[in-house]
C-alpha cells in the first residue's frame, strides 16, 4: 500500500477513517461554511457590495447619455486638454466614460452623499481602480454598470486603469474630487 502502488487492501473504501483525519475534515468544512455565510452576511449588514444594476448598452448610446450629463453639470475645465469637471447632483446620476486612453469627465462629489455612477467603455476592456481607496471594478464595452458610491473622506482621488488596454495604458489616469 503506497501512493505509487495499487492499494494493498483491495477493499480500501471499507477501511475506517482515522479520528485525526475526521477532525481536520470537520474543521476545514466548518471554516468553508463560515466563509460562505460571511459573504451573505456582508450582503445584509456590510456597506461594501458591488451593485447588480447593469444594462446592456452600446458605446454610442452611452456616450450620448454621458455628453448630456456633462453639458448639464460642468462647473469648469482643467488641464491643457480642458477636461470638464462635472459636479454630480446630490443623490443623482454621474457618468464616467472609459476610452483609449482616458477617463472622462472629472467628477466632483461630496463627502457622505450617495451617488449613482454609471461606468462603461467605448472600446476595449478597462479597469476602474480608485486610489488610494483601492476599489477595483472591471469596465466592459456594451455594459452599463450603475454603482452606488458614498465617499467617506474628502480629497483628490485618482482613477488608475488597471485592465491592460494597449500601448497608452499607463497614461490612462482619471480624477475624482471629494469635497
Amino acid at each position: 500500500m503506497s501512493a505509487i502502488l495499487p492499494p494493498a487492501d483491495r477493499l480500501w473504501w471499507k477501511q475506517s477513517i482515522d479520528k485525526t483525519e475526521w477532525m481536520w475534515i470537520f474543521l476545514a468544512f466548518t471554516w468553508a461554511m463560515i466563509m460562505f455565510f460571511m459573504m451573505i452576511y456582508w450582503h445584509i449588514n456590510g456597506k461594501q457590495n458591488l451593485s447588480n444594476e447593469v444594462y446592456k448598452t452600446t458605446p454610442e448610446a452611452f456616450a450620448a447619455k454621458a455628453e448630456k450629463f456633462i453639458a448639464a453639470n460642468t462647473v469648469r475645465t482643467e488641464t491643457e486638454q480642458n477636461i470638464p469637471v462635472v459636479k454630480v447632483p446630490e443623490g443623482g446620476d454621474g457618468y464616467l466614460v472609459a476610452s483609449l486612453w482616458k477617463w472622462s469627465p472629472i467628477l466632483e462629489l461630496e463627502k457622505g452623499k450617495t451617488y449613482k455612477i454609471h461606468l462603461s467603455s467605448m472600446d476595449y476592456q478597462h479597469g476602474f481602480s480608485l486610489q488610494p481607496v483601492n476599489i477595483n471594478i472591471q469596465v466592459l464595452p456594451g455594459y452599463e454598470h450603475v454603482v452606488k458610491m458614498t465617499p467617506t473622506q474628502s480629497g483628490t482621488y485618482a482613477i488608475v486603469c488597471n485592465e491592460y488596454c494597449g500601448i497608452g495604458h499607463h497614461t490612462m489616469l482619471g480624477r475624482i474630487y471629494v469635497k
Binding site: 500500500m1 503506497s2 501512493a3 505509487i4 502502488l5 495499487p6 492499494p7 494493498a8 487492501d9 483491495r10 480500501w12 477501511q15 482515522d18 485525526t20 483525519e21 481536520w24 475534515i25 476545514a28 468544512f29 471554516w31 468553508a32 466563509m35 459573504m39 451573505i40 450582503h43 456597506k47 461594501q48 457590495n49 458591488l50 447588480n52 491643457e80 486638454q81 477636461i83 461606468l119 479597469g127 481602480s129 488610494p132 481607496v133 483601492n134 476599489i135 477595483n136 471594478i137 472591471q138 466592459l140 456594451g142 455594459y143 452599463e144 452606488k148 458610491m149 465617499p151 467617506t152 485618482a158 488608475v160 488597471n162 485592465e163 491592460y164 499607463h170 497614461t171 489616469l173 482619471g174
Partner: protein, 566 residues
C-alpha cells in the same frame, strides 16, 4: 505492439521504451519553454523594478504576453504530458497505448507553441495571455494556442487509453495507485478545460479572421476563464500527485487513508473548474447570487480538498518517519527529514508555499466582496506565482531530480548546487509573492508599464511603501530567476555531461512486479495498516488554519474602511 521494457536498476520502476522516449521529449520541450519564459520574466521584472524600468512599453507588453503563454501553458502542459505518461505506463507497468498518436500530439503541441511564440514575438499579438476581446491578436496567436491544446487533448486520450490497456492486460491488481488516480483527475479536468478553451478560442480565431463580427466581452471572460482557471486545476492535481509520489519514493510513505485522499481528488473534478467564476467577481455582467454560489459551494469544496491534501501529505510523511523511529517530540520526524535531498526539500517548500501563500491568498481573492480590494492589482500575479510557480513549478523541479537518473540515466552534476537550488528558488519565490501581494494591497496595478504615469494629464503618487514593495519585487524576482536558471543549467548540464548510469535490464515483456528491495516496491512492505498518530502534522495544520482565519478577517477589516458601495 513491438516495444521493450526497461527496469531501472536504481528504483525498480519499469519504463516502456516508447513511453520513455515520449516522456523525455515532453520534459525537454517543457524545459525549453521554461528557458524562453524565464528570459521573458527577466524583461518583465527589470521593467517593473521602478529604479531600472528597462524596456519601452511595447516591448514590456510583448514580453509579458510571451512570459504568460510560455510559462502557464507551454512549460507546464509539456511537463504534465510527461507526468501523465509516467503515471500510467510506468506506475501501472504496462505499455503505452498508441505511441504513434502520442507523437502526433507532441508535434502538434510543439508546432502550436512555435506558432504562438512567433505571433507574439512578431509584435502583433501583445494581448496578454488572457487576450480579452475586443483587443485583437493576429489569427496566428489563437491558432497556435488551439493547435497546442489539441495536441494536449490527444495526450490526455493516450493516457486514458493506457489505463484501459493496463486494465485489460491485467498489469496490476485491484485499484490504480493513488498517484495514477491523481493524474487521472488532472486528465479529466484537462479534457474539460481544453473543450472549454476550444469553445472560446475557435470563435475568437474566426473573429480575428473577420468571419465573426463580434464577441461579447462578458461572455468571452466567462468562457475563457473556464479554460484559464481550470488549467490551474490540472496543475494542482498534477503537483499534488507529485507530492504523494515524492513522499512514497523518498520516505516509503503510504497515504493515511486511501479513501480520504482519493475523495479529495474527486472533489477537484466535481468543483474546482467552477472556481473560474472567481475571476468575474468585480465584473458587471454577473449577479451577486451567481457570484456567491460559484465562489462558495463550488469553490470551497475544492478548497476543502486542498486542505485535506495539505494535511494527508505531510501526515503520510510523518507516519512513515515515526515508523522509522523518529518519534521524539512533535517534530523530530521533520527535523530528521533529508533536507539536503533536493527531491524532498523542493517538494516540501512547494507544499508550504502553496498552502500558506497561494492557498490562503487565493481564497481571500476569491471572496465576492473582498475581490474588489485586489481585482487586477499586483496582488493577483502575487497569488498565482505562489500557486503555480512556488507550488507547481517547484514540485516539477523537485521530481526532476528523481527523473534525471531514472528516466534520462544520468547522474546529476554539481550535487552541492543541486542541494541549494530548491531553497534559492523556493524561498526567493516565497518572498517575491509576498511583496507582490503587498504592492497589490496598496493598489499597484498588474500589467502596467509605468508607476509614474508619464504622459498622463494628472499625477498620482503611489504610497512610499508601494515603491518599496516594487523594488523588493525586482530584487527577489531576479533572485528567483537565478534559482530557475540554475535549475535549467543543472538539468541540461546533467543531460549533456552527467555521468552515464547503468540503464538496467531490457525485456520484451512487462515485468509484473518491481524487484523486492527497490524503491518502486519497498513502500508496500514498509507500510502497514496499523494506525500511527501524527501530532506534528496536526500542529502544522492548525497553524495554517489560524493564519488563514486571521488573514481572512483582516481583509474584511480593510474592506469595511473603504467607500460605501451598493
Amino acid at each position: 505492439m513491438a516495444t521493450t521494457y526497461r527496469t531501472c536498476p536504481r528504483t525498480g520502476l519499469q519504463f516502456d521504451t516508447e513511453a520513455e522516449k515520449l516522456m523525455r521529449w515532453n520534459a525537454v520541450a517543457g524545459v525549453l519553454a521554461l528557458l524562453v519564459g524565464g528570459i521573458m520574466a527577466l524583461g518583465v521584472i527589470l521593467t517593473r523594478w521602478p529604479a531600472i524600468k528597462l524596456l519601452p512599453p511595447d516591448w514590456f507588453y510583448l514580453v509579458l504576453t510571451a512570459h504568460g503563454v510560455d510559462m502557464l501553458l507551454v512549460w507546464i502542459i509539456f511537463f504534465e504530458m510527461a507526468v501523465l505518461y509516467f503515471a500510467s505506463s510506468t506506475l501501472l507497468r504496462c505499455r503505452l497505448a498508441t505511441p504513434k498518436i502520442a507523437w502526433l500530439g507532441f508535434w502538434l503541441m510543439a508546432i502550436g507553441a512555435v506558432i504562438g511564440n512567433y505571433a507574439v514575438l512578431a509584435g502583433e499579438s501583445s494581448v496578454m495571455f488572457t487576450s480579452y476581446v475586443p483587443m485583437q491578436a493576429s489569427p496566428w496567436f489563437y491558432l497556435g494556442l488551439i493547435l497546442f491544446a489539441v495536441g494536449a487533448l490527444i495526450g490526455c486520450f493516450v493516457f486514458l487509453g493506457t489505463l484501459v490497456v493496463a486494465k485489460k492486460e491485467r498489469t496490476y491488481e485491484g485499484s490504480i495507485p493513488l498517484v495514477t488516480f491523481g493524474a487521472l483527475t488532472a486528465c479529466i479536468i484537462a479534457v474539460f478545460t481544453i473543450l472549454t478553451g476550444a469553445g472560446i478560442l475557435v470563435p475568437t480565431l474566426f473573429w480575428s479572421m473577420g468571419l465573426i463580427k463580434e464577441i461579447d466581452p462578458q461572455l468571452y471572460r466567462m468562457v475563457w476563464w473556464g479554460l484559464g482557471h481550470s488549467s490551474q486545476q490540472i496543475n494542482v492535481s498534477a503537483h499534488v500527485s507529485i507530492w504523494y509520489l515524492i513522499a512514497a519514493v523518498v520516505f516509503g510513505a503510504k497515504p493515511l487513508s486511501e479513501k480520504v485522499s482519493r475523495f479529495a481528488f474527486f472533489l477537484y473534478i466535481l468543483f474546482l473548474q467552477l472556481a473560474s467564476a472567481h475571476h468575474l467577481l468585480s465584473d458587471p455582467g454577473m449577479s451577486a447570487e451567481w457570484k456567491v454560489l460559484n465562489t462558495s459551494y463550488f469553490m470551497y469544496f475544492a478548497v476543502l480538498a486542498s486542505m485535506i491534501h495539505g494535511f494527508t501529505v505531510p501526515g503520510a510523511i510523518e507516519a512513515a518517519q515515526r515508523k522509522k523511529g523518529y518519534t521524539n517530540g512533535l517534530f523530530e520526524w521533520l527535523r530528521k527529514a533529508p533536507w539536503g535531498n533536493p527531491i524532498f526539500s523542493g517538494m516540501f517548500l512547494s507544499l508550504v508555499n502553496f498552502g500558506f501563500l497561494g492557498g490562503i491568498s487565493g481564497v481571500v481573492l476569491g471572496t465576492e466582496q473582498l475581490n474588489m480590494l485586489m481585482h487586477n492589482t499586483f496582488y493577483v500575479p502575487g497569488h498565482f506565482h505562489a500557486t503555480v510557480v512556488s507550488g507547481t513549478t517547484l514540485a516539477f523541479m523537485a521530481v526532476t531530480y528523481l527523473l534525471v537518473p531514472t528516466l534520462f540515466k544520468r547522474e546529476m552534476i554539481s550535487p552541492g548546487l543541486c542541494k541549494i537550488q530548491p531553497y534559492l528558488f523556493g524561498l526567493s519565490m516565497a518572498v517575491l509573492t509576498l511583496v507582490m501581494m503587498g504592492a497589490g494591497t496598496l493598489g499597484v496595478s498588474r500589467r502596467h508599464w509605468d508607476m509614474a504615469f508619464s504622459g498622463a494629464p494628472f499625477q498620482y503618487e503611489w504610497p512610499g511603501a508601494a515603491h518599496l514593495m516594487m523594488s523588493l519585487t525586482g530584487i527577489f524576482g531576479v533572485l528567483a530567476i537565478i534559482g530557475g536558471a540554475l535549475w535549467i543549467w543543472l538539468v541540461v548540464g546533467s543531460l549533456l555531461w552527467g555521468k552515464k548510469l547503468d540503464e538496467g535490464k531490457l525485456s520484451d515483456k512487462p515485468v509484473p512486479h518491481a524487484p523486492l528491495d527497490s524503491v518502486a516496491a519497498s513502500a508496500s512492505h514498509t507500510g502497514s495498516a496499523e494506525h500511527v498518530a501524527v501530532p506534528g502534522t496536526v500542529v502544522l495544520a492548525m497553524l495554517l488554519l489560524v493564519s488563514f482565519v486571521l488573514y481572512y478577517f483582516v481583509n474584511w477589516k480593510y474592506l469595511s474602511e473603504v467607500w460605501a458601495l451598493s
